[in-house]
């Protein structure tokens, strides 16, 4: 059976279901526009732990637990876990999922990891390698600032193009059990690098990758922009969105009417001092779980294209004068 579509996509002959999901966020996210929709919030950003890294691990564990609970399933019933985060060696994932004892693949796709994990989980189920797969990802403001920018207490002024890393984790159970959302196809993104070297303007670094994946998805599936109720990017933010619109228009397409960006809905830019919007693996993952999936489940949206975007930044290569490459993966989600 041939599942391949076009150059970079897969259309599943028998689409796996997105059975259930779980979202866990920190204090600032709980005070944002989506605050009440998340499954679990913690007013303590350390989640009772000593370090940011351990706290991020706890979020992943809780998110996985929530997803499993909602489907009334045990970790032993899950064949493989696909997980990743922003930190070196994916340490938050290792600490977080250790207790579950599910055979796992550690992923790195920067903030696009939720897409990477969902694609691999869906492919594994569709290929018959197991009945259930877990996809999980997270980011934490504290650990990300420490790893990529400055210690939290350091006094500096953030540029308006900078984004605010979401403290949150989202987990998704993909499998054969019927639900109201299916993953009908995926488009795997390429590394797209327009040579930008501004790590404080991630939106502009990632927009070309988002454009590439969206256009490729439409071509591969022979669809129009309007065939999707929403085309949802992960964390381009306000700056990245306006660049994406321009880039897409140059390709002869227009997504202005049905585009949404998770980074722009998770925080209130005016009152939360988040400048260009939210970012991080947790941004797209928690928004998908708490805001997008319910709309698909109810049938308010019939079909969407979920495109988490990643800026593959390394602090080492950045200091060595290299640019920040971008990547984006497309996941087609349909109501059923």
């Amino acid at each position: 059976m041939n599942h391949t579509k076009g150059a970079q996509s897969i259309g599943f002959a028998e689409s796996p279901f997105l059975v259930s999901s779980g979202s866990v966020v920190g204090k600032k996210e709980s005070e944002g526009p989506l605050g009440k929709k998340f499954d679990m919030i913690s007013k303590d950003d350390l989640f009772g732990e000593e370090t940011w890294e351990a706290a991020e691990g706890v979020m992943q564990k809780k998110a996985c637990g929530l997803a499993l609970n909602k489907a009334s399933m045990q970790p032993e019933q899950v064949r493989f876990l696909f997980g990743g985060d922003l930190l070196r060696q994916g340490i938050a994932t290792s600490m977080g999922v250790e207790a579950l004892q599910i055979p796992m693949f550690g992923l790195f796709g920067a903030c696009s990891t939720s897409g990477e994990a969902l694609a691999l989980a869906a492919m594994s189920v569709a290929a018959g390698y197991g009945d259930y797969m877990l996809a999980v990802t997270s980011s934490h403001f504290g650990s990300a600032e420490k790893e990529f920018r400055f210690p939290l207490g350091y006094a500096n002024q953030r540029p308006l193009s900078a984004t605010w890393t979401v403290t949150g984790s989202g987990a998704f159970l993909v499998g054969k059990k019927k639900s109201h959302v299916r993953i009908s196809g995926v488009t795997i993104g390429k590394i797209v690098d327009y040579g930008l070297k501004d790590s404080q303007n991630m939106g502009a670094c990632m927009a070309p990758a988002a454009c590439d994946t969206i256009v490729q998805n439409l071509e591969d599936f022979g669809r129009q922009e309007s065939d999707y109720d929403r085309i949802i990017t992960g964390d381009l933010g306000y700056v990245g969105q306006s660049i994406l619109f321009d880039l897409i228009r140059k390709k002869g397409r227009d997504i202005k009417d049905n585009h949404m960006d998770c980074g722009m809905v998770i925080f209130d830019q005016k009152t939360q001092n988040t400048n260009a919007g939210g970012s991080g693996c947790g941004c797209a993952a928690t928004t998908l779980s708490a805001y997008i999936l319910p709309k698909l489940e109810s049938g308010e949206w019939k079909r969407i294209l979920f495109v988490p975007t990643g800026a593959l930044m390394s602090t080492v290569s950045f200091n060595e004068g290299e640019s920040v490459p971008g990547i984006a993966h497309g996941i087609v989600l349909e109501h059923c």
Binding site: E50, T51, K146, F150, P151, L152, G153, Y154, A155, N156, Q157, R158, P159, L160, S161, Y194, G195, L196, D198, N201, A204, P208, V239, S242, I243, D246, N273, S323
Partner: protein, 153 residues
């Protein structure tokens, strides 16, 4: 190859036009007020020290010491970053900004241990300032010495 570079430059230019930046005049005004307030506090301490009879050098020492202490305490309470978020360079340039840049890593990396955490990383931000500050003063000293030798200073 050249074509790619041209494309990169064009994109960089386009992104620059698209990206909003902080407004210069209000930002300068905020920096002026913030830096000014810190300097006024310093002046008050200095005047007080001189009033109670300390000599000029000792008064200056106490002024720096108290400002540094205040900055470190405000960093620990997470108030100093908020001041800098509003006041920008007005909070970064005075000695209080320097104190913050040392205190912040100390707090953040404490969990990685006294040696590899605080010890190795306390000067991650202030290090370059210290290194090149000392180097520049050495260079100026050398020029001054040469000037003395040939009799122009």
């Amino acid at each position: 190859m050249e074509d790619k570079q041209k494309k990169q430059e064009a994109y960089e230019k386009y992104v620059k036009e698209k990206t909003p930046v902080h407004k210069l005049v209000p930002n300068m005004a905020k920096a002026f007020v913030t830096g000014g307030v810190i300097c006024v506090i310093g002046q008050v301490i200095l005047n007080y020290c001189e009033k109670i009879g300390l000599d000029k050098d000792t008064s200056g020492g106490w002024t720096s010491l108290i400002l540094v202490l205040l900055s470190v305490i405000l960093t620990g309470l997470n108030i100093y970053p908020q001041i800098a978020n509003w006041g920008g360079a007005g909070a970064l340039v005075p000695i209080t900004g320097f104190a913050n840049s040392v205190a912040a890593p100390a707090i953040e990396y404490k969990k990685e241990g006294q040696v590899f955490g605080i010890g190795c990383k306390i000067f991650t931000i202030a290090g370059p300032v210290i290194l090149y500050g000392i180097f520049t003063s050495w260079l100026l000293g050398l020029i001054y010495w040469i000037g003395m030798c040939i009799g122009i200073v």
